[in-house]
């Protein structure tokens, strides 16, 4: 398999008056083309930081982390779906979805038809001319997801995209993400602190240690695809989440002690 995302001995330290504070140490990761990998860890383990580094929004202090460029240079390397949605309040739903294309100078007509297609896929066609303030949180995150997918990045980076939503909206969007992934087969790196979400969505779950973050364990999710919410009822799903929790529990306790 071709590696699409590579991290080797990645290291991130934050300078402070009391000396350098390590956030990520010795982190290795490979994500193959078309693979859906979930990064799970306790709060403050540096998983979001790693994602931001890959997105070019932050820098490494040592080692390397990069996305292997594909053959088509016109496709952007990555796009991020932020936890806080990060949709532009001053742009309509449709203009938000077309934002990446607009920045790349795609002609208005083409951009409009691509945006319309994605709005239809995430069920937002009726809301195309609404402003974000006029739609719910779940819809804002749909806008954010459609904005990233419409830009057709080589790798989709998702930073706890469903973390701010209520449980029911989250369940609906999880199914929607599964459906969209079946359609696009994108390479996805997905940060979450929900084990269930990671097992439901991912091909592989990478577990990180508490502060400083590094790889603790890795689980291949051998649940058959296509999946939906009924997958969570299966025996194998329960086994996997229990196995991951057994490993994660220790880290969560360590993280809580560190905060105390």
């Amino acid at each position: 398999m071709d590696a699409k995302v590579v991290a080797r001995a990645a290291r991130k330290v934050y300078p402070s008056l009391a000396g350098d504070v390590p956030a990520i140490v010795d982190f290795d990761l490979e994500v193959s083309e078309g693979e859906f990998v979930c990064l799970v860890g306790p709060s403050g383990c540096g998983k979001s930081t790693f994602l931001r580094i890959l997105a070019g929004l932050d820098t490494l202090s040592g080692g390397e982390a990069f996305i292997v460029p594909g053959p088509d240079p016109s496709r952007p390397l990555n796009n991020v779906v932020f936890q806080e949605y990060a949709v532009f309040p001053w742009k309509t739903v449709k203009d938000n979805v077309a934002f990446g294309l607009q920045m790349r100078g795609v002609p208005a007509r083409e951009r409009s038809s691509v945006a319309d297609a994605w709005l239809a896929k995430v069920g937002l066609r009726r809301f195309a001319d609404y402003y974000p303030a006029q739609v719910s949180g779940g819809m804002k995150q749909r806008v954010s997801i459609a904005r990233a997918l419409a830009n057709d990045p080589q790798v989709l980076l998702m930073d706890e995209p469903l973390g701010a939503l209520d449980a029911q909206t989250r369940a609906v969007l999880q199914e929607e993400l599964l459906r969209l992934w079946e359609e696009t087969k994108k390479t996805v790196l997905y940060v979450t602190h929900s084990i269930e979400e990671a097992v439901l969505l991912g091909d592989r779950v990478v577990l990180m240690t508490a502060h400083p973050g590094t790889k603790k364990a890795e689980f291949v999710v051998d649940l058959p695809r296509p999946r939906d919410l009924s997958t969570t009822q299966s025996q194998r799903f329960a086994e996997l989440t229990a196995a991951i929790w057994a490993e994660l529990r220790e880290e969560v306790e360590r993280a809580m002690e560190a905060q105390a």
């Binding site: 997105a55 070019g56 929004l57 952007p76 990555n78 796009n79 991020v80 932020f82 806080e84 990060a86 949709v87 532009f88 309040p89 001053w90 742009k91 309509t92 934002f99 990446g100 607009q102 920045m103 790349r104 402003y131 974000p132 303030a133 904005r147 830009n151």
Partner: protein, 339 residues
């Protein structure tokens, strides 16, 4: 459904009783304010009782009717108090007399200055035909309202435009912010009218328009600059990151993220600056002007013509309201996402 009429009848009866009692005992002259307060309280009870009788659909209309009817009642009370000399009409002339003074200011051209409130705009076409652009300025030069309005508008534009520019630079650039922020905040608290004498020195013509327009510009500049800076800094950093992640270059970032993100607070600053500009220009016209509505207030104080003072105050109020409405209209046009 028939309601018992009591809740409506007793406040109305009370109002009549208070008025009659006040008149019978001769209380109006000294205790007019207490009697009016009692009347007002009873009026509120009556108005609420009336509202309870209205259908749901009429209630909204009733609320906005109150906003119009009450001032009319208040003016009527003022009129009566002034006419019956309970209020000294020298300081508080009856509203009808103020309206008359306003009419007087509008239609009568002052014998010495050749000015009136609005000038003679009906001569505009004839004058343009006669002398072109000079005809336009001759017409505007006859109007006190236009004198003030032009000072405010020109000064406001001259101050706000560089204010927005500097504010954006200060918001975006840490070094510039570090250098300017403390100084600007210090100068900001200085009442700008205090630099007016200095400006009269600086300008070759101390009585001309230069210092007047400049003092308005200065007062607008600091407010707009500091609020623009706050607006740029207040932009949610995740939106800037999103812009970056989706490939916006510097210009696109400015156009699609920074500018729209800062606009709401910029407009806050513009609104405040407009209010300050009006204060400053009126003060300046008190001191050093033979034209403008501030001059009208001050001049009619000097000749002790209170109705005209009130008329000029009305004009200033109307100007403030008008300018605010225009600014709000622009705001809605520029920021459609804020309803």
């Amino acid at each position: 459904m028939v309601r018992p009429a009591g809740d409506l009848v007793w406040p109305l009866a009370g109002m009549v009783a208070v008025a009659a009692l006040g008149t019978a005992l001769g209380l109006w002259r000294t205790w007019w304010w207490a009697l009016l307060a009692a009347e007002f309280t009873l009026l509120v009870f009556a108005a609420e009782a009336l509202e309870r009788r209205l259908s749901f659909r009429l209630k909204r209309a009733y609320q906005s009717a109150l906003a119009w009817v009450f001032p009319v009642l208040a003016l009527a009370a003022w009129e009566w108090l002034a006419r019956s000399a309970i209020l000294n009409p020298r300081w508080f002339p009856p509203p009808t007399q103020i309206a008359g003074a306003l009419w007087d200011l509008t239609v009568n051209v002052d014998r010495f200055s050749g000015l009136s409130l609005l000038g003679r705009p009906w001569l505009l076409t004839a004058r343009i035909a006669e002398s072109g652009w000079a005809g336009v300025s001759a017409t505007f030069a006859e109007s006190h309202l236009w004198a003030t309005l032009s000072r405010v508008l020109v000064g406001f534009a001259l101050g706000a435009a560089p204010g927005v520019l500097i504010g954006i630079v200060m918001g975006l650039n840490k070094t510039v912010r570090a250098m300017l922020d403390a100084t600007m905040s210090a100068v900001y608290v200085l009442p700008k009218i205090a630099v007016f004498p200095l400006l009269m020195l600086v300008f070759a013509d101390p009585f001309g328009e230069g210092p007047k327009v400049t003092v308005v510009a200065i007062s607008a500049f600091f407010l707009v600059a500091l609020s623009t800076m706050a607006g740029v800094q207040g932009i949610d950093p995740v939106l800037v990151q999103a812009g970056k992640n989706f490939g916006a270059n510097r210009l696109q970032m400015f156009r699609h993220v920074i500018l729209p993100g800062a606009l709401p607070i910029v407009f806050n600053g513009l609104r405040l600056a407009l209010g300050t500009a009006l204060i400053v220009i009126v003060a300046v016209e008190f001191v050093r002007s033979q034209t403008g509505v501030g001059f009208l207030v001050y001049y009619h104080w000097q000749v002790l013509s209170t109705p005209k003072m009130y008329a000029a105050l009305l004009v200033i109020m109307a100007m403030g309201v008008g300018l605010t409405v225009v600014l709000q209209w622009v705001e809605r046009r520029v920021m459609p996402w804020r309803r």
